[in-house]
């Protein structure tokens, strides 16, 4: 109905809306997302084979090299005997000029390289320790993959199990479990993570544990809601009448019914896990260095924004593209597998 206002508008020659809709219809974005996700997963798994350099070892001669497509930055300076104080950005002493150009003479001009150009050996440039950023991003993808896999595996199993139990048994069990879920949802987890890290130090274990605490509740809530509906179905009552044991009903009869929900929740949770993990590692509360994590790579580049912006930018782009793709893919999957969930998110 609200569209009636729109319909009276004359069609323009280039309609950005139509163009966008056409793109959407062809699932171009979805295709790009899936491609990016496969790329991240593939490079993460095959990191040692693909990464062009060692992610931990830097070459101090190649510090802060820009990405390959960026040329060198030069400036022209006048050759003088002694540069005046404060004018060194325009003047150069004769002795230094002759090191660049043996023919330099007083009063002449020389080209001075302010910053070296990009190098095809380091496609995305190098950081302040001369480490290859692309290789670190590839190994970072591996870390993100492992963390997402482990947390989703454990958190998903706990959440699904408790969700099944809460939904199936109902009453007191349900009430109790859902109150626990409420408490966990209200827990400020980034703060809890900081406390854990200061108390027992950074570790892979702490990071995954915090993330498991963070996500199991989301599985539990969603699965429980699904089971509440599913258990009223006739086939469940029939199984009960036929004498099926409780574990059998839970896992053989109810679990297959929630698999679609499980897949959708898991896909959408991956993006949240990656965002929270990168936030923790940005704050220095994630997986400890020197393991290259995307968040800590962004943090590493903070001090060099003025002369080497790519150190912070590149890993951030990796996070953005991965999470964006996961969200697009997850939305599509949700619409496909489980339209009911659309209202829940």
């Amino acid at each position: 109905m609200a569209n009636t206002v729109l319909a009276t508008r004359p069609p323009s020659a280039f309609n950005i809306t139509q163009w966008w809709r056409k793109l959407r219809r062809r699932h171009v974005f979805l295709g790009i997302s899936v491609f990016l996700l496969l790329l991240v997963a593939g490079t993460g798994i095959l990191a040692p084979l693909i990464a062009p350099h060692d992610p931990h070892k830097g070459n101090l001669a190649d510090q802060k090299l820009p990405p390959a497509w960026i040329g060198e930055r030069t400036t022209t300076k006048t050759v003088v005997e002694f540069p005046e104080p404060g004018l060194s950005h325009r003047q150069i002493s004769i002795s230094r000029a002759q090191r660049i150009d043996p023919n330099a003479a007083l009063g002449g001009e020389v080209q001075v390289i302010l910053r070296e150009g990009g190098n095809s050996r380091y496609l995305l440039g190098t950081d302040d320790l001369g480490r290859d950023i692309l290789s670190r991003i590839i190994y970072g993808a591996r870390i993100s993959l492992i963390i997402a896999g482990v947390t989703l595996g454990i958190g998903g199993a706990i959440g699904t199990g408790l969700g099944l139990i809460a939904g199936y048994f109902g009453r007191l069990v349900d009430e109790l479990l859902m109150r626990i879920v409420d408490i966990f949802l209200a827990l400020p987890l980034v703060l809890v993570a900081l406390v854990l890290v200061v108390a027992v130090g950074q570790s892979f274990f702490i990071t995954t544990m915090v993330l498991v605490l963070f996500i199991w509740v989301r599985f539990a809530r969603q699965i429980r809601g699904e089971v509440l509906q599913l258990k009223t179905m006739d086939y469940v009552s029939l199984a009960k009448v036929a004498g099926a044991s409780t574990p059998r009903i839970l896992f053989i009869h109810l679990f297959p019914g929630v698999i679609n929900t499980l897949i959708v929740v898991a896909t959408l949770q991956v993006s949240i896990v990656i965002l929270v993990e990168s936030t923790l590692s940005f704050l220095g509360a994630g997986v400890p260095p020197p393991t290259p994590a995307w968040g800590s790579m962004v943090a590493d580049g903070r001090d060099f924004l003025a002369d080497a912006w790519w150190i912070s930018t590149m890993p951030g782009v990796a996070i953005l593209l991965t999470v964006l793709s996961l969200n697009l893919f997850g939305d599509w999957l949700r619409d496909r597998l489980d339209p009911k969930l659309r209202q829940l998110n």
């Binding site: 209200a186 980034v190 406390v195 704050l283 953005l320 964006l324």
Partner: protein
């Protein structure tokens, strides 16, 4: 209503106890504080004396009770690093955090709500696409990276605003955007779907049938009912602002409690950090409790769900 308030209150209290328990257990897990306070040449008597002074000779549950009692009296002891009382340090930083939070909150309302309205009344228009893009980026872009990128463009390259610190009004701009970024997208999405629901109701159809102008329908009838849902989410919004302030303040060296938490983390100042965590948890849980009660008061349907 009373039952609802009691239940919410119980959840809040239990969560707070859980937070305090985590903080307490972790403090003990991190090792004996005496190893930090005494040097290697301290005698056994000094060691025991300090243990009595700190209450370490008592059983754990009594130590926990003492910790809870002190926390209720806002006493978190002294910082290990500079020996200042933790509570005083936190209160000193509070105004900066509150100002930034308020700025971010206003930013998220001023951008999020109009964008949500625009994209709902002009569906599939340019503004709708902008709205969807904002919503998607809000979900997908890590705020700490956004902050750093904005520092690079607007402070380093263009020099419009200071890169960090808290000075004039213009030093508020980037931190407020960084902190409010996620909330803008959330507000926009909520307002948009609330407006769409509201535009689809019977009373709007009736108003249309009666010949009320489209402008009147949108501004007088639909909007009034569409601004309530963002209120429900205000509790969550304020919660994300509390946690987000650690990130935003760290990125912009904003001298608030969030930056204090980051510094405490880097210096392993446990007593300071536990004070901040309890303080933040109370703020976070307290505001969401208040908002929920307020909302249940405004909308009876909530009480029974």
């Amino acid at each position: 209503m009373q039952k609802f308030i009691l239940r919410r209150l119980a959840i809040t209290v239990v969560t707070l106890i859980l937070v305090s328990l985590i903080v307490f257990v972790m403090a003990r897990a991190s090792g004996d504080p005496r190893t930090l306070l005494l040097d290697d040449y301290a005698s056994t008597e000094m060691w025991d004396e300090l243990g009595v002074e700190l209450g370490l000779d008592k059983p754990l549950y009594i130590q926990y009770a003492i910790f809870l009692g002190d926390a209720l009296l806002l006493d978190f002891g002294d910082s290990v690093i500079d020996n200042q009382p933790v509570t005083a340090t936190i209160l000193e930083r509070l105004p900066a955090t509150l100002q930034l939070g308020a700025a971010a909150f206003i930013f998220s309302l001023v951008i999020g709500i109009p964008l949500g309205i625009l994209s709902s009344i002009k569906r599939d228009s340019f503004w709708d696409q902008v709205g969807k893009l904002v919503a998607l980026l809000g979900q997908s872009m890590p705020p700490f990276w956004l902050g750093i990128m904005m520092i690079f463009f607007f402070a380093v390259m263009l020099g419009w605003v200071p890169p960090s610190g808290r000075y004039d009004w213009n030093s508020f701009v980037l931190p407020a955007i960084t902190l409010g970024w996620f909330t803008v997208a959330a507000n926009m999405r909520i307002v948009r779907s609330a407006m769409l629901d509201s535009l689809d109701t019977e009373y709007i159809k009736l108003a249309r049938a009666k010949g009320v102008s489209e402008t009147q329908i949108i501004w007088k009838h639909a909007l009034k009912n569409a601004v309530i849902p963002p209120l429900t989410f205000m509790g969550i919004t304020l919660g994300t602002l509390v946690t987000g302030s650690i990130v935003a303040e760290t990125v912009f060296a904003w001298p608030g409690i969030g930056l204090l938490a980051f510094d405490a983390l880097r210096q392993s100042d446990y007593s300071l950090l536990q004070g901040i965590v309890v303080f933040f948890a109370v703020m976070y849980l307290g505001t969401s409790l208040l908002v929920d009660i307020l909302y249940a008061y405004l909308d009876p349907r909530i009480r029974y769900s």
